[in-house]
Symmetry: none
Subunit: 201 residues, 4 copies
C-alpha cells in the first residue's frame, strides 16, 4: 500500500498531468460521440478541443481505436456509478433506481446516446463488446439480485421470472434514447413509467 501510494505521489506531477490530459481527451471524444456518433469522431478535432496538437494525441492513445475503447470504458463506468448505490427494501430500491435513471436521462441524455452507440459498435468490434457486455451483465445481475430479493420478501409473485424481467428492464432503458424527437421522448417516459407500474404497482 505504502509503496503504491508513494509511487503515486512520486509520479504525481508528471503522471497526473498526463492522466488529466488523457482524461480530457476521453471527455472530449465522449462529447463528440454524443453529438455526432462514432461516425463523426475526428482525432484532430478532439486534440484541438483539448488544446494539443493532433500528433500529440497519439502519445496518449496510440490509435483511434484505443481512444474509443477508453471512451467506452468511461461511459460504462459512469452508468455503473448510477447502479448499486441504492438501499432499502427491494421494491424501494428498484423505484429509487428508476428515479435515478430518469433523472440522469433528463440531466445528461448524452450518456445514454453514447451507450447506444457503444452497443451498436459492440456488435462489430469484439474488443468493445468485451467491455460493454461485461458492464451489461453487471447491470443485469444488479436487477436480478433486487428482483430475487423482492420475490423472497413477497414484493413480487414467485411466478415472476427474475432473469426475464431484468432483461426487459435493461432493454427498455437501453432503447430509451434511440429516437430523440420530442414526441418520442414522451413515449420513452411513458415506457419507463409503465415498466414501473408493472413491477412496483
Amino acid at each position: 500500500m505504502e509503496d503504491a501510494n508513494q509511487m503515486t505521489v512520486h509520479k504525481s506531477e508528471a503522471t497526473r498531468k498526463s492522466e488529466n490530459r488523457a482524461q480530457a481527451l476521453v471527455l472530449a471524444a465522449y462529447n463528440c460521440i454524443a453529438e455526432k456518433g462514432f461516425e463523426g469522431l475526428r482525432l484532430r478535432e478532439i486534440a484541438e478541443q483539448v488544446g494539443i496538437n493532433h500528433a500529440t494525441l497519439h502519445h496518449y492513445f496510440p490509435t483511434k481505436e484505443a481512444l474509443i475503447q477508453a471512451v467506452v470504458l468511461y461511459a460504462t463506468q459512469r452508468l455503473a456509478q448510477t447502479v448499486g448505490a441504492s438501499e432499502g427494501a427491494p421494491a424501494e430500491q428498484l423505484r429509487a433506481h428508476f428515479k435515478l435513471i430518469r433523472q440522469q436521462m433528463q440531466e445528461e441524455p448524452s450518456l445514454f446516446i453514447v451507450l447506444t452507440e457503444v452497443g451498436m459498435r459492440a456488435q462489430r468490434d469484439p474488443a468493445i463488446r468485451a467491455i460493454a457486455s461485461q458492464q451489461a451483465e453487471r447491470w443485469h445481475a444488479f436487477f436480478v439480485k433486487i428482483l430475487k430479493a423482492g420475490i423472497e420478501q413477497g414484493d413480487w409473485s414467485a411466478d415472476l421470472d427474475a432473469e426475464a424481467a431484468a432483461s426487459t428492464i435493461v432493454a427498455v432503458i437501453q432503447s430509451i434514447t434511440l429516437i430523440n424527437t420530442k414526441l418520442s421522448s414522451v413515449r420513452m417516459e411513458q415506457a419507463l413509467q409503465q415498466l414501473e407500474r408493472w413491477l412496483v404497482g
Copy 2:
C-alpha cells in the same frame, strides 16, 4: 396502338430493369449497413457488389444520402409488412404479433440491426428522421389500437395506459438487437417473453 403498346411494353422492360438495378443497389447497401453500419457504407463497394461501375451508381442515386434514404425507406417498409396483417381477438393479435417479430428476429436479425442504425442516424439527420419517425408512429398506433380494443373487450384492466404500454412494447422491440452476443440474444428473448406475460398473461 399495338405499336404504342409494344413500345410501352418495351419501355417497361427497360424501366423494370432499371428499377431492378436500383432495388439491387438498395439491397446491397442494406446488407452492408447491417454488417458494418452506416460508418462502413462505401459506394464503390456497393456498386461492385451489384456489378456496375461506381459512377453508374450515381445514375440511380445522385448522392450517397439519396441511397441511404432509399435504404431507410426499404427497411421501415419491411417492418411495416410484419405489422398490421394479424387478425382475431386483441390479445390473440398481440400474441401473434410478438410471435411474428420473434420469428423475424431469428430469420433476419439484420432488419433490426439496420433499424437501430436508422434510429441513431435519425437523431442527427432530419430527412431520415422524417422517414423513420413516421414509421415508428404508425407502429405505435398499431399497438395502441390493439390494446384499446383489448381493454374494451376486457382482455386488460381499464387501468392499463394503452399509450404507455404501446411505448414500452416499441421500446423493447427497438432495443432488441442492440447487443448481439449470444448471451444477450437470450436476454432479449427473455425480455419479449416477459412483456408477453405482463400483457397477455
Copy 3:
C-alpha cells in the same frame, strides 16, 4: 444555284429543325459561357436548357470542342455585324462606331465577356485562335481603313500611325469588360470617351 436551292428547300423541314436546334444549343452555350466562363460550361446543362437529352447533343456536336468552336464563330460574327455598317465621313464613322459599341456594351455586355473568354482560350487552342484572330484582324483592318481615309481627308494629322491607333482602339475595347465592378465600369466608360477625345476631339 437551283440545285442548291432545291436541296435547301427540300431538306428544309428536317434540316431547318436540325439547324434551329443546333443554333439553340449554341445560344444556350453562349449564355452559359457569358455567365460562368468556359470553366463553367457543362454539356448536360446546355442540353437540358434546350430540352433535349444530353446524349442527343452529341448528334449535333460530336464533341464539346465542336460546340465551343460554334460558339466562338457565333460570337465573333455578332461583333462583325456591329462593324462595317457605318457611313459618312471617316471621323463621323468612327464616332458612330464608338457609339454603337457603347450601346452594345450596355445592352448586351455578355457579348464582350464571351469575346474576352474566347481571347483567352485562343492563346491555348489553335483552332479557336484561327477563328478569333481572323475576326480581330478584320476589325483592326476596319479601323485602319477609316483612320487612313481620315488622314487623307485631313481629319487627322498625317503623323497619326493608323495601324497603331487602330491597335489601341481594339485593345481598349477588348479590355472594356474585363473587370466588372460598378466602379470599374465607370472607368471603362471613361477610357472609351478619352479615346474618342484623342481621336475625334
Copy 4:
C-alpha cells in the same frame, strides 16, 4: 537567452522551409495558370511539380480556392512592384513606366496572362474581386497622380481628364496580352506606343 534565440533561429529555419514550400506551390500554380488557365489547374499536378504528395498540399492551402487566392495576391503584388518606383518629372515618369511595362511584357508575358485570367475570374468570384480590384484601383490612382502632377506642371493640357486618361492606360495595358499571336503582339506594342505618343508626344 541564447538557447531561446537558437530555438527561435531553429524555428525560423523550419518556418522558412515551410514558407518556401508554400511559395513554391504558389509559383507552380502561377505557371500552370499562365500555361493553361484556371481551367487547367490541377492540384495533383502542382504538388507533383513541387515534389510533394498531393495531400500535403492541403497542409499549406486547405482548399484549392485558398491556393488560387495566394496566386492572385502574388500576381497582383508582382505587378505592384513595377508600379511606384519611378522618379523624375511626370511625363518622364510615365515614359519610364511604359518602358518598364513593355520590358516586363517581353521578359515575362506570363504575368500579364495570369492577370487577365484573374480579371475574368474576379467577375464571378467576390473573394478574388476584392484582391484584384484593390490592386487595379491602386494602379489607376498611380496614373492619376502622375497625370495631375503633369497637368499642374504644364506637361499636359488642363483639358486632359486625368481620371479618364488613367482608365484608358489601365485598359490598354490590361488587354495587352489578351491575344497572343505574333501578329497580335505586334499590335499590342503599337497600341502602347500610340498611347505614349498621345500622352507624352
